[in-house]
Amino acid sequence: MLKYILTRLLIFIPTLVAISLLTFIISINTPGDPVDSMLNQSSNTGQSSDKLASEQAYIEQRAKLGLDKPLFYFSFTNATYSDTLYRVHKKSHRETLEKLSFKYGNWPQIANYYSLIKKFENKLFLLTVSEDLAEDFRKLKEFTNSLYTTADEKTASTIISNIDFIVNGDREFIPVRPNFTALQKAIISIVQNQSPHQHYIPKFIWYGLDNQYHNWIFGDEPWFGQKESGKIYMGKGFLRGDFGTSYKDKRPVSSVLWDALQWTVLLSTLSIILAYIVAIPLGIKTAVDKGSKTEKSITATLFMLYSLPNFWIATLLIIFLCGGDYLDLFPPAFSLGKLPESAPFWDRFIDTSHRLILPVFCLTYASFAFISRQMRGGMLNVIEQDFIRTARAKGLKENTVIWKHALRNSLIPIITLFANVFPLAISGSFVIEFIFSIPGVGKLTLEALTARNYPIVYTVLMFTAILTLIGNLVADLLYAFVDPRISFSSGKK
């Protein structure tokens, strides 16, 4: 038995690694720049001091989030990809440069071009012009800024000729002319020295252990011994219980998640218990009375309930029962009580318990229908078996036959369902939490996804996966407990 559990736990490792990679890939591919969304930066058309300050803030923030590290241990790309590209700060700039180098295959020239745009822009910000040129100057800055994100040759040449027109249009722009000429030359040299076939050559880049993935899982603080003084660490890593910091409110993910988890666990536990309490007797009843009229109508109703989309029911309940233009039985479900968020959890719970009735109902009815249908199926299978006939032939009371002999054996399908309870408890029901504005894990994750709050998405996905794996293991063990014929010690892999 112990050996079996240990083997199963060992098998978890590759599965978890794969899931962590999947999560990581999902997160890094989410569009948008998390640093930008954290800083809420305005565009770079302000004063030079503003621009420098905001750029500095961006770089610092990026370093703080650990996003200035390479993504992974290695990278398998084409020969045009530079192994220093990750050092470019802005995500949008990185993407443009990657595209350019893919297209022209000459990274040195492109890097030179990038640094020349930067120099030109910096020069522009040091320049002051007279009032009547202000509009031109503003446009000039805008054009220059748009060069950072232009990878298309035609667009680039239009922008360049626009800049050319302004820069050579007035004497006041003379100081920046040399920089602009250099920039123009850089573009010509990119096009002249291009070797586009380069991207057909595969290339393998090794980045080493100091990368974003490694820091997320293992952390960069030393496992043993002292921290180096003066060095800034990212954290202890997922394996040591450090899930990082939420981008949105800069709180530790564990505490954000803990707050959300309380609501979700509360809701799911209530709904699961309710569902099982009602479903098991009902399932047995419909199995025993198979063929009767009540049974048929109950089964049909259960089937309907099972197919009713819970977000529809939730919407209808809110429209018709929560104030609005119709009945006013429940308070608007969009709030969770008057108490502030800082109030103790149980006080808030008592205050809001009557607001929980509708969400719990919506979470319960579908699973309840599902469980009773499973229970009925399991029971029907058992009732037809010989030992039940024997028990009846022995003269046992019908109740004893059903509740003592049949129930134990028909519980097996129900146990498999129990495995799903674990992940359900954490991921909750996205839609129900979304509709009723319950600050649970589902709503948290939805918000994190749209706000590109990766650390939360990582953590929730990983936890759901771990819980599902554990749930499956527990279900298998429970199988053996309910049905002694199943044994893990021999024969079974």
Binding site: P309, T315, P423, S427, F430, T464, L469
Partner: protein
């Protein structure tokens, strides 16, 4: 005695034909059992009705007339509109940028619902109830199911929503079935012990896959991205090219492997535990809740589209089908006739495709029926919460979401929800009917 001695191929053929005959009658039994279930038969009819509505949606609800006479000429604007959408034709100058309703026709036949889902009826904006008085010329122009906040016709949205819902269900489950049947039958048929490959072909195949992905996807990522922006047609073409590159490289690898199979070290045969590999893959997929996974992946898509949602649902929900298929093939591969086919020296591919898979398909059919219901529900959920589906796409889910903004508009909540409910229920009922029909315990 001599009569009973037959050569082996004849015996096999007899078995096969016997089996084929048996399987034919098996399907007859399934059909008979299914027809006994009145509810399932009616559900199937409702599905067909919905499919008809989806197919004819442009003719049922459209802003253009079905047929009209305008300035002495007869036109069929709905047909024309479809041709224009497909890029086969262009509008005549007099029909460019016009409001069809305002034209003076000599004679005209309008579709039953004279609105497109995106048409704004300014006179009837702010959610007009179907029961209230509407600002329309006649009952011909009445909004039978009311309008939404900006004056779009709900009935038209419902009719065109049918198309999206059924397409999502069918295509995503088509993708899922392809992957699931492939994965499941490979795992089930070969198990952990049956797939033997030479060292050379393992190395070469892995290399080919690696380079195939590199040249097929890594190197073409910008081309694929541009195709995505252009539309469905070019995406399909570009994806086909990518897959052709991968398949070509794999074929090349196997050709080389044949040549190399004479080298002593490289020709050593190794058993590949295919079942373990695929089962682990399924376990990984299953350990993240599907809806969670789909929402996460949908959030990474820069430009949401229905096609991408279909692909995502298809790529994430094949595990159920694969499990069914695997279990069936694990059973079938031990049956006599497969052993016999193998003994005869038929190659593996032929044995799997021609003999093993057709016999395992029936439970997969059940999984597909339930899968379509689940896919439609997922699409509705995504539209409802506004992730992954384009904002301008009018679906049942997005209409239901609008009712959250205007709680007084009960028609926005009831009708789309009802449509989702009915569709999901009928597919579930068909799945249920199939389960009963295919369940061997009832087959008497």
């Amino acid at each position: 005695m001599t009569e009973e001695i037959k050569d082996i191929p004849t015996i096999i053929e007899e078995r096969e034909s016997k089996n084929a005959g048996a399987s034919e009658s098996y399907w007859q039994i399934v059909r008979k059992q299914f027809k006994k279930n009145k509810l399932a038969v009616w559900s199937l009819r409702i599905i067909m009705l919905f499919a008809l509505i989806a197919l004819l949606s442009d003719f049922i609800a459209n802003e253009r007339p079905l047929m009209c006479t305008y300035q002495g000429n007869t036109y069929f604007p709905v047909f024309k509109g479809i041709a224009v959408d497909w890029g086969l034709s262009e509008w005549q100058d007099e029909f460019k940028n016009i409001t069809w309703k305002d034209l003076e026709f000599e004679s005209v036949i309008w579709p039953p619902v004279p609105y497109l889902p995106q048409n704004l009826d300014v006179l009837n904006s702010n959610s007009v109830s179907p029961m209230d008085d509407q600002e329309v010329e006649s009952t011909r122009w009445k909004h039978w199911l009311g309008t939404d906040e900006i004056g779009r016709d709900v009935l038209s949205g419902m009719i065109h929503g049918t198309k999206t819902a059924l397409l999502v269900g069918l295509i995503s489950m088509g993708i899922a079935a392809l992957i699931g049947i492939l994965m499941g039958s490979l795992a089930g048929y070969f198990g952990d012990d049956k797939l033997k490959m030479t060292v050379a072909s393992i190395i070469l195949n892995v290399l080919a896959l690696f380079f195939g992905i590199f040249y097929g996807f890594g190197n073409r990522s910008y081309t694929l991205g541009e195709a995505m922006a252009e539309g469905m047609g070019s995406v399909v073409v570009e994806l086909l090219i990518s897959f052709a590159i991968i398949i070509g490289l794999l074929l090349l690898a196997n050709l080389f492997a044949k040549v190399l199979s004479n080298v002593p070290f490289l020709s050593k045969k190794v058993t590949i535990p295919l079942d373990i590999i695929i089962s682990r893959l399924i376990e990984i997929m299953v350990s993240v809740p599907t809806l969670f996974l789909i929402i996460s992946i949908s959030a990474t898509v820069e430009k949401p589209s229905v096609a991408i949602v279909m692909v995502i649902i298809g790529l994430t929900s094949w595990t159920g089908i694969a499990r069914f298929m695997r279990a069936e093939l694990l059973r079938i591969r031990r049956l006599e006739y497969v052993e016999a086919a193998k003994a005869l020296g038929y190659n593996e591919l032929r044995t799997i495709v021609k003999h093993a898979i057709p016999n395992a398909l029936s439970p997969v059919l059940i999984a597909i029926a339930f899968g379509i219901a689940a896919a439609i529900l997922i699409e509705a959920t995504l539209s409802f919460i506004g992730i992954g589906m384009p904002a301008e796409e009018i679906t049942w889910g997005s209409m239901l979401a609008m009712s959250r903004q205007t709680p007084s508009a009960w028609w926005l909540a009831i009708f789309p929800g009802l449509a989702i409910f009915i569709t999901v229920t009928v597919y579930n009922l068909v799945g249920e009917g199939l389960t009963d029909a295919i369940d061997p315990k009832q087959k008497k």
